[in-house]
């Protein structure tokens, strides 16, 4: 398809997803074989298999796609990507769908709404310290989003502490100001593929 032909009309949902995925995702050439859906370790628990999502994308059913828990259940194992007979960059597309769900606010309606919160909490720590911080992450995330679970996780956290596998205070890198400047600039540039 030529660039001019696309510009002449509003992009389809499929074209949007492709445009927001880095490199050549090749999502347009999915033959709906189901190799991805069969390979996915969390596939049995997804509301839609990756293949199912791609059929929905092709049909332009934006809300169904962006509300699905499927992208959030992706554990980035890359099985689908290496097995896809059409060499579609499926894992990258899953990341794209997560970002689109956040941008468009749909994820709050998904059954996996905790997942983006986990990612965000994780990132908060990285942005303020330059390193991740497991104790802070676990506490902040569980207390904020899964208070019930937090209690259940206490023995595990204590175990981590007792074995010297978790810090009580975060490590901060020296160049944190530099890192923050870089991230700030990156966010401003944003939108890039």
């Amino acid at each position: 398809m030529t660039a001019t032909a696309i510009a002449a009309r509003a992009p389809t949902f499929l074209e949007e997803v492709i445009a927001r995925t880095p490199g050549e995702s090749h999502l347009e050439r999915c033959i709906q074989c189901g190799t991805c859906g069969g390979s996915c370790p969390s596939g049995a628990d997804m509301e839609h298999t990756p293949r199912g999502l791609f059929a929905l994308i092709n049909a332009g059913l934006r809300e169904l796609v962006l509300r699905s828990n499927a992208p959030w259940y992706c554990v980035s194992c890359y099985y689908c990507t290496v097995r896809c007979p059409q060499q579609i960059h499926i894992t990258d597309v899953m990341y794209t769908l997560k970002r689109m769900a956040i941008d468009e606010g749909y994820y709050t309606e998904s059954t996996a709404r905790d997942a983006p919160e986990f990612s965000k909490t994780f990132i908060d720590f990285v942005e303020s310290n330059g390193r991740s911080f497991e104790l802070g992450l676990a506490t902040a995330y569980h207390l904020r989003h899964r208070p019930l679970n937090a209690v259940g996780m206490v023995p595990m956290a204590v175990g981590m502490l007792r074995r010297g596998r978790m810090d009580l205070v975060p490590t901060r890198i020296k160049g944190i100001k530099q890192l923050q400047a870089i991230l700030k600039r990156a966010k401003e540039l944003g939108g890039a593929k």
Partner: protein, 320 residues
């Protein structure tokens, strides 16, 4: 042999044992791993879900530091997730000049610049297997792990999708098996060797995550492994720290210790368990290690059932 070293956040604390044992082992092998000064988190699997360009910039800062600090043009990452993020960023910056330009514009805000392709990122296992080689490793073995039944567990990101080049088969890798055999261990078949440990799923849906972990533990138990050996801190954490939770959830009673490959290498090289950070695991490794300590002849391994004489021949396979 001198390399830049990017330990990654886990190796600072939750996987300190990996760091400790890796250091001990590379010293024996004559490898110099020099830590990149002031590296930052690679973003794990999280940052790419939220915001793409900052995610690349975050990783690229490390590549820029590695490039500028001039330790070596090779950077070793022991964590599979870090390995993936570093190779992915380098590869995508190489493939897309637009991405490279944007990332570099962001880096410029911190006075940095990274030229894609200048730093070659390697996983620690790959360096040991390819640069040092099995023979050199074999030469250092003083206390072979005879009788220890090991399930060699690769997980995902060291073999898939191969942004830094294909190092082992993405479906049925064998490098770690060979390494363990060189150490004298008995490597059991482990069909789920490259399946996912669940990654961050423990934080998102415990039922889903526990099931993924259970599958792996069951598979290792089915083949009567004494120990699962890993190449990634995330895999170790999921299989080890959550093993009690998994048992509780499913009513199972798995007690399979999960050690880093560097810890077993260290033991075979004659280092003391303490030196190698052994003892920090949730599932006690002592019963397994007793087995090699006392060097008793193995309780007979389950023998393959004899092939009846009507049996049809098996297809011929290339030697591993």
């Amino acid at each position: 042999m001198r390399y830049g070293y990017y330990p990654g956040c886990s190796l600072e604390r939750s996987a300190a044992a990996y760091h400790q044992s890796a250091m001990a082992v590379v010293q024996t092998l004559g490898i110099d791993l020099v830590e990149i000064d002031d590296w930052n988190c690679c973003g794990a699997t999280e940052y790419f879900s939220i915001n793409l360009l900052p995610a690349y910039a975050l990783v690229a800062r490390n590549l820029a530091l590695a490039q500028d600090q001039g330790i070596s043009n090779q950077l070793v990452a022991p964590c599979s997730a870090c390995f993936l993020n570093l190779t992915k960023t380098d590869r995508y910056m190489m493939e897309s000049s637009k991405l490279a330009a944007d990332v570099n514009e962001a880096l410029a805000a911190g006075g940095l610049h990274y030229t894609p392709g200048t730093v070659r990122v390697r996983h620690l296992l790959e360096v040991i297997v390819n640069d040092v080689g099995y023979d050199a490793v074999a030469a250092r073995v003083s206390k072979p792990l005879t009788g220890l039944r090991v399930a060699a567990y690769y997980g995902c990101l060291i073999v898939r999708p191969g942004y830094g080049g294909i190092f082992d088969d993405p479906e049925h890798p064998t490098a770690l098996d060979k390494l363990m055999r060189v150490l004298g261990a008995e490597v059991v078949d482990f069909p789920l060797r490259a399946q996912c440990c669940g990654g961050h799923m423990t934080q998102i849906s415990q039922e889903v995550a526990f099931e993924m972990i259970r599958r792996l533990l069951k598979n290792a138990a089915d083949y009567e492994a004494d120990v699962i050996v890993t190449v990634c801190p995330m895999c170790q954490l999921n299989l080890d720290a959550y093993q009690p939770n998994v048992n509780q959830f499913f009513g199972t009673d798995y007690t399979i210790p999960v050690l880093y490959f560097t810890q077993l290498m260290g033991l075979a090289f004659g280092a003391s368990p303490i030196e190698l950070g052994i003892g920090k695991e949730f599932v006690d490794a002592r019963p397994a290690l007793d087995k090699i300590g006392v060097a008793l002849p193995l309780t007979e391994a389950p023998r393959r059932p004899e092939r009846p004489k009507e049996a049809l021949p098996m297809p011929r396979m290339e030697e591993e």
